[in-house]
């Protein structure tokens, strides 16, 4: 365990999941704390200022969004990686919009989860194929509905960003995408971060309407 290994807090209401994750990643990162609800999570994160928080999207008393908002009010450098079994796109998008740097499903393998944690720690965005699909879905309605000339830059994905997302949804890793599109890995990362920023900063009506429509569905 090198001093550089990121310090991690696991927030999940299922003890089995926390124990399992701890066992899988514990050799490579320092798990400094665990929490099973919002209040506990905020307290633990305040106490330890971890580098990365593995954050369950659904918690007994609310959603991961509330944890992120409570913690970021005190502004730390802590980064959040959303983890969930949930397929509900609007919940996932909601947590990412609140500030999570990525989203993975709980069925992710140990090494992949570790990789995702390290990447989030490095400031990268982590898009599981599913999140990439959700984002494409969320931004697709507006592309045809809003005239491109008037739309805010934040409200639209560039063709290149779309291409990167499509490859992510197809299961490509950053390295493979770089080779496919003949760009550097750094550029792929930049595109992914840009998509994340747009997702978080856009207050586009289409995005909320999309979420609302999903909810009714």
């Amino acid at each position: 365990m090198s001093p550089a290994s990121p310090r991690v807090v696991i927030v999940d209401d299922h003890r089995m999941f926390r124990t399992g994750v701890r066992a899988e990643i514990g050799d490579h990162v320092t798990v400094v704390g665990e929490a099973e609800d919002i209040a506990e999570a905020v307290a633990v994160i305040d106490q330890w200022s971890p580098d990365v928080v593995l954050l369950d999207v659904h918690l007994p008393s609310g959603t991961g969004r509330e944890v992120i908002e409570a913690v970021q009010a005190g502004s730390t450098d802590t980064k959040f990686l959303a983890v969930s079994v949930s397929d509900a796109a609007e919940d996932v998008i909601d947590v990412v919009r609140a500030g999570a740097r990525g989203y993975v499903t709980k069925s992710i393998s140990g090494p992949e989860l570790l990789d995702a944690i390290l990447r989030v720690h490095d400031g990268d965005a982590v898009f599981s194929p599913r999140l990439a699909g959700f984002v494409l879905d969320a931004f697709s309605g507006g592309a045809t509905a809003a005239p491109a000339a008037t739309a805010d830059d934040l409200d639209q994905l560039t063709p290149r960003e779309r291409e990167v997302l499509r490859h992510l949804a197809r299961g490509y890793a950053y390295k493979e995408i770089a080779r496919q599109l003949d760009i550097s890995i750094k550029t792929v990362e930049t595109h992914a971060s840009a998509v994340l920023r747009k997702l978080q900063l856009s207050n586009r009506n289409e995005l909320s309407r999309w979420a609302a429509a999903r909810r009714i569905w």
Binding site: V85, A88, P129, R130, G133, S140, R170, G171
Partner: protein, 390 residues
């Protein structure tokens, strides 16, 4: 039994009502100004069966389901208007009676009105749970009026040594009035019972789901304990997970209403079950099913099956996207790949089920692979008409 015919009857208005919202409800249904309907009722009251007609309409018309909290805030002025309306109706009825020759002396009218009002207030106190304030006051008043009319007619008949006909008429009115007074409680009781039955059915349905879930989850756990094969264990867990998801996220779609999305998810689910792999499935946009889309879904399943069988990895990615003019599908694995030149003629799986199928329906199929490089199958068909939504 109640729902089918009641559904076609316009509801009483919650927001616009003087007495019970009947007029506004009717007005809305036939697209008239409520004032006109109210006038019609008033004319009917003096010239015919206005009050009974109103009472019957009131009974028959369901409550507007769109009642909201805002209704409560607007209650008091409505209460006031309703009170004024009631007084006017009662006065009108009395005057009307005098006009048509029945002249009940004040000694009878006022006691009856007072007793009626007293009874109403008492009942109001006793039965608050029956939404009394909301609507029953109008009917109470109507009932009291009719009882009063009946008694008046009866008395008038007796005083004038009237015929049996008048007495009968009076009796009918009294009975009718009592029915109006008691009827609402009966109706409310019946409605409550219907409500209760519906609630019980709902909770039964929920219990069914819960029982089904618990049963299948327990079965899965039992099976998992009895197997030593980790692959089988994860296959069981995956299957259970998918089933739970389907229940929880209401993905229980009637096959007749399948769309591209449900069809793809169903197909990749079958591949997961049969071949013991994870198929990470992402569908962006949706489309209705036509022959081409059906072929695309089938070819996607075939490609995923091939990947599961031959790639050597335990995870396959499927990405389906509806673009402006076509439906594209990508099936990818990071496994061993193969040399396209060496595909034997007998690898019919690829040649027939995928490439051939796509070409026959005017689509495209492309296979990108090399030994050690994984495999990606790219498919596309033209977008069907009547897309569900992008």
């Amino acid at each position: 039994m109640t729902s089918d015919w009641r559904a076609r009857i316009p509801p009483r208005s919650n927001t616009d009502r003087v007495v019970g919202g009947v007029s506004a409800g009717i007005a809305q249904a036939i697209n008239l100004d409520p004032i006109l309907v109210r006038l019609a009722f008033i004319v009917l009251t003096f010239g015919g069966p206005g009050i009974p007609a109103y009472a019957v309409a009131w009974l028959v018309m369901p409550e507007d389901p769109r009642s909201g909290a805002a209704d409560d805030d607007a209650r008091s002025p409505i209460e006031l208007r309703r009170g004024v309306g009631l007084v006017l109706i009662v006065l009108g009825a009395v005057l009307g009676l005098r006009e048509i020759g029945l002249t009940p002396p004040d000694a009878i009218v006022w006691p009856i009105l007072l007793v009626g009002a007293g009874v109403g207030i008492v009942l109001w106190q006793v039965q608050p749970s029956l939404e009394f304030s909301r609507w029953a006051s109008a009917r109470i008043a109507a009932g009291i009026i009719v009882v009063g009319l009946g008694l008046a007619a009866f008395v008038a008949g007796n005083i004038s040594l009237g015929a049996v006909r008048d007495s009968l008429f009076g009796t009918v009115l009294v009975v009718g009035g009592l029915a109006l007074l008691v009827g609402p409680w009966m109706v409310v009781l019946m409605r409550d019972r219907a409500d209760e039955r519906r609630r019980r059915q709902q909770s039964d349905a929920r219990a069914d789901v819960a029982a089904h879930l618990h049963d299948s989850v327990l079965q899965t756990f039992a099976l998992m304990q009895r197997t030593d094969d980790p692959r089988e264990m994860s296959a069981l867990a995956r299957q259970q997970e998918r089933e739970l998801r389907r229940w929880l996220y209401a993905d229980v779609v009637d096959p007749g209403q399948w769309t591209l999305k449900t069809a793809v998810e169903r197909t990749t689910g079958v591949v997961e079950d049969r071949h013991d792999v994870t198929v990470e499935t992402v569908v962006v946009g949706d489309a209705s099913i036509d022959t081409a889309v059906e072929a695309l879904v089938a070819a996607t399943g075939e490609a995923a099956t091939n990947a599961a069988k031959w790639s050597g990895c335990d995870s396959v990615s499927v990405f389906v996207e509806v673009t402006d003019d076509e439906v594209q599908s990508f099936v990818r694995d990071t496994g061993v790949g193969f040399d396209r030149g060496e595909i034997a003629e007998d690898r019919l799986g690829v040649k027939e089920s995928i490439v051939g199928r796509m070409e026959r329906i005017g689509g495209r199929a492309e296979i990108i692979t090399a030994p050690g490089e994984g495999t990606e199958v790219r498919l596309a068909v033209p977008l069907p008409t009547g897309t569900v939504g992008a």
